[in-house]
Assembly symmetry: C2
Homo-oligomer: 197 residues x 2
């Protein structure tokens, strides 16, 4: 490489981001250097601010800039519904859909025997505490439809059995989905959960 | 979005980078926030350093941290060969290949009637100056094999005609390439430029 040390180091670090490889990191860095006043300097400043202020919510695990996130702090969101998600990205996806008005609980992963992730590594004990502390009427399990996600959902449902109503997201044909392109598991789940029209 | 303003702004800015969209920007920012001590803070510092020091070489247009880049400053690279590339990314690609020992000239784009890019918008006048000033014996045109790239190559060849030897990269079957997957233009170019074995 003919570029100097800092530029190389920047490319190497950018290449570590998910979704970027060495080639796209080089392109991104060149783009940043070309627009350094417009993009690189503001981006660096913003990163510094976020690095200094971003933290996980002590209550639910969401990412925000205070110890208690905006959702946990809002009394309006205390409607007795608690949505359990694996990850902050899933919480953001739910919020973009804009239909859930309750609070969240971010597990921070799924149970996994292979990776030695047990209940105490996730926020499962905290979830059990919150159900009573926040007077929760319904826990909605919005975990990914993967084996690990569903194992975790079953475990949580077992833990909460008797103390609160536990539901999970419906499984079926996605909106806009074409049967011909769906996997057998989805079609089978959609058929089993068929509804009266 | 439930995250706060700075985090949203960071995601929005990251999504402007080539190769990243809104979804991958969100993933990247979450990853950065999770590893803020290890990744976000050093990345912000590095960006600030690069923003303060990076500049274009006044001679060739390469990106570096001084007014004259390392390659132009090195006497070893003054072997009378000058490689003309469209972009700094192309220069880096040539350097990775590690076979060219001369100096470069980065045009900063290609001639384009559609986008109203003329010779004076690129570094073509500077190229003509350098050929005499740096005692160049051979100009190697390493422009992309696109219509704009080849138009630019022809224009430069016309400008330099008589004053210096002008060559261009060979066109043909790429190493590891399978004929069945190559386009007709490449096969036709490779056939026309066939060599004795």
């Amino acid at each position: 490489m003919s570029s100097t040390r800092d530029i190389d180091a920047l490319i190497e670090m950018m290449a570590k981001l998910p979704g970027l490889g060495p080639r796209s990191a080089r392109r991104a860095v060149l783009h940043l250097i070309r627009k350094r006043a417009l993009l690189l300097t503001p981006l660096a400043d913003l990163m510094q601010t976020v690095a200094a202020t971003a933290r996980e919510c002590l209550n639910c695990g969401n990412v925000g800039t205070s110890d208690i996130c905006d959702i946990c702090a809002s009394e309006k969101r205390a409607n007795g519904e608690l949505c359990v998600v694996e990850d902050v990205a899933d919480l953001w996806a739910m919020e973009r859909a804009g239909v859930f008005k309750g609070r969240y609980h971010v597990l921070g992963g799924t149970l996994s025997a292979l990776d030695a992730v047990g209940p105490e590594d996730l926020r499962i004990p905290k979830l059990v505490d919150r159900v009573t502390a926040e007077n929760i009427a319904e826990v909605i399990l919005a975990l990914n439809a993967t084996i690990d996600g569903q194992t975790t959902a079953h475990y949580i449902a077992d833990q909460l059995e008797g103390s609160v109503k536990v539901t999970s997201l419906a499984q079926g044909v996605p909106i806009g989905g074409e049967l011909d392109y769906l996997d057998d598991g989805t079609i089978s789940a959609a058929l089993k959960a068929r509804r009266d029209v």
